[in-house]
Point group: C2
Chain length 344, copies 2
């Protein structure tokens, strides 16, 4: 089937090129008769307007970019990322936008810049990781491209963002543990360069002090969100801090690693040790034992970020919004009342 362009359609429908344009864009001021003739040709030949040409003419692409740094295969593979992306993607599709996804590793900064930012190809950008933002914030401001971040960053108070209430999530987790009678609760946290870590640590501390628990900085670890770090930290603490009976992990993957360490040391979960995670990833339900965790609306975060971005692109939204979503405790099988040391 021969490829049509707007002029050929116009000729076949015996109208001018502008009439065709109005019809396919649903503009008013076109007679029923003309519309019918155009539609007939369009359908018969399955004509679709050329997006590239349309983009050039309108100076907009209806395409947004998603930027995320490649921190390592482990963290990409944990499902959080995919869910977030899915939320973004589906909201975009509903609104008639396409999404262009880019991982970026630190060695790629320059290429990224060339490829993404100055190409006039994107109407806006969502940054999934604050790391990206630091590098690009100035650029975005310079070229005046709408942007929204997933995760707040006080360094950029002028940028819209979406996040969970990290403080509240951590608080809920630790409260759950305290309610079960635990008095020695370790805390393993992720990326220290990121605002959420501060808030999760605060929530973790506050819940403890609210319950009269002594916060021991010796059992707070900040490294990365990988299983590996959960595993290593827990292994260390089993030897050095046998007094802890429970653990709050700032991600489900961290919890997964910690639980393996516990298992290898023959410490039974939840009978002898309780752990709660953070994220509510699909896999957390199938850990051994199924993980009690703080579920965050990951898909929802992506959806909301896309919503705000598209509203900004279309100028429906002009003020700065930094949106916080609600985390929720999901009780499964990894926690039990604190082990009472029944002396013989």
């Amino acid at each position: 089937m021969e490829k049509l362009n707007i002029d050929k359609v116009a000729k076949l429908a015996h109208v001018s090129r502008s009439v065709v344009s109005r019809v396919i864009n649903n503009h008013p001021n076109v007679s029923e008769e003309a519309r019918r003739r155009v539609m007939e040709v369009v359908e018969m030949h399955n004509y679709k307007p050329n997006t590239v040409a349309r983009n050039l003419a309108t100076q907009s692409t209806n395409q947004i970019g998603v930027l995320t740094s490649r921190i390592g295969d482990e963290s990409l593979g944990n499902g959080y990322w995919t869910l977030l992306y899915l939320g973004i993607f589906e909201e975009c599709i509903r609104r008639g936008y396409n999404v262009h996804l880019s991982f970026y590793s630190s060695s790629m900064k320059n290429e990224l810049h060339e490829l993404i930012l100055n190409e006039h190809r994107l109407d806006g950008v969502i940054c999934l990781n604050e790391e990206v933002t630091k590098f690009t914030a100035d650029r975005f401001a310079e070229i005046d491209m709408p942007i929204v971040m997933v995760g707040h960053n006080p360094e950029f108070p002028e940028i819209c963002s979406v996040d969970v209430d990290n403080y509240k999530g951590a608080y809920k987790a630790v409260k759950h543990l305290a309610d079960l009678g635990h008095r020695r609760i370790g805390g393993i946290f992720g990326d220290q360069n990121v605002e959420e870590t501060k808030h999760r640590i605060s929530g973790y501390r506050k819940a403890q002090s609210d319950y009269g628990i002594l916060v021991d900085d010796e059992v707070i670890s900040v490294s990365s969100y990988s299983q590996k770090d959960g595993y290593q930290t827990m292994n260390k603490w089993i030897k050095e801090h046998p007094e802890i009976t429970a653990l709050f992990c700032a991600s489900d993957t961290l919890a997964m690693g910690a639980m393996l360490a516990l298992h290898e040391n023959n410490i039974k979960i939840p009978e002898e040790f309780s752990v709660v995670g953070f994220d509510g990833l699909p896999i957390s339900r199938y850990m051994i034992p199924p993980l009690t965790t703080i579920e965050q609306p990951t898909y929802g975060k992506g959806e909301k970020a896309a919503k705000i971005l598209i509203d900004k692109i279309n100028k429906y939204q002009t003020d700065i919004v930094q949106h916080n979503m609600e985390p929720e405790l999901i009780v499964r099988k990894s926690c039990a009342p604190a082990h009472v040391k029944t002396t013989i």
Copy 2:
């Protein structure tokens, strides 16, 4: 900073528009002096050619699409998909291509079609799932767009594809189990609409018959790759088929679900029951116990698919290639010699 276009650059450099075009495209036939003047302006103003306009003029976008069906959050979140995508993405970046990612759910078929296929926006497409292909194969042929599939499909012998050797992978897994003395080996497989399932089942059967093991169709299950199906099937078999002492799962996620069922029934892995998975996902290393599995080069599959596609787009590659990659057994802790029933 005011936005430049090619004409303004030309004016500032005191040359014509065509000279500028030649310079930025590294074409020959431009004097040293002219090149220098142009580059000076380009660098000073950080001029970047408008990609959309360039695409319109060249009738190519240097953008490829990745199509994958959204089967469910669980399967998307397992890490396989992300690794595959990462392989595609990084190869594309190296070659100067951008990638446009689309999930597609069955309700979106039409929109997909509108959005992706007829927009003249993509130079080629990678399909991550055969399901997509069935729907689109004709369309692609019709509009003559290069395509490569991840996963072979004999229905489309004319389409390039990349896959692991599924037969060999399953064979290796079952051989490992047989070598350990297991004689009753269950098999849980994924998507039955997909060619790989046939090959994995053949490998599973052949290894058993090679080792003189009776293949019992009662302990072959074909459903989906989700943890849930692994969990449910194993739960059923624990009651109905207590004779099996080992299990081959066609994905790590399936194995994860099965292991939870085993755990809940107080069956010790690997002492009383062995399981081997398939995929070698990052999370498999942290399962309890760490999973022995058939690792496939997931990242490599993506990379290879992108390589073939880009070669096709550029006509470096004109013949049909259906590439098979090598799976590898990774021995961890989920298998042990068959339990010898020591009678009292």
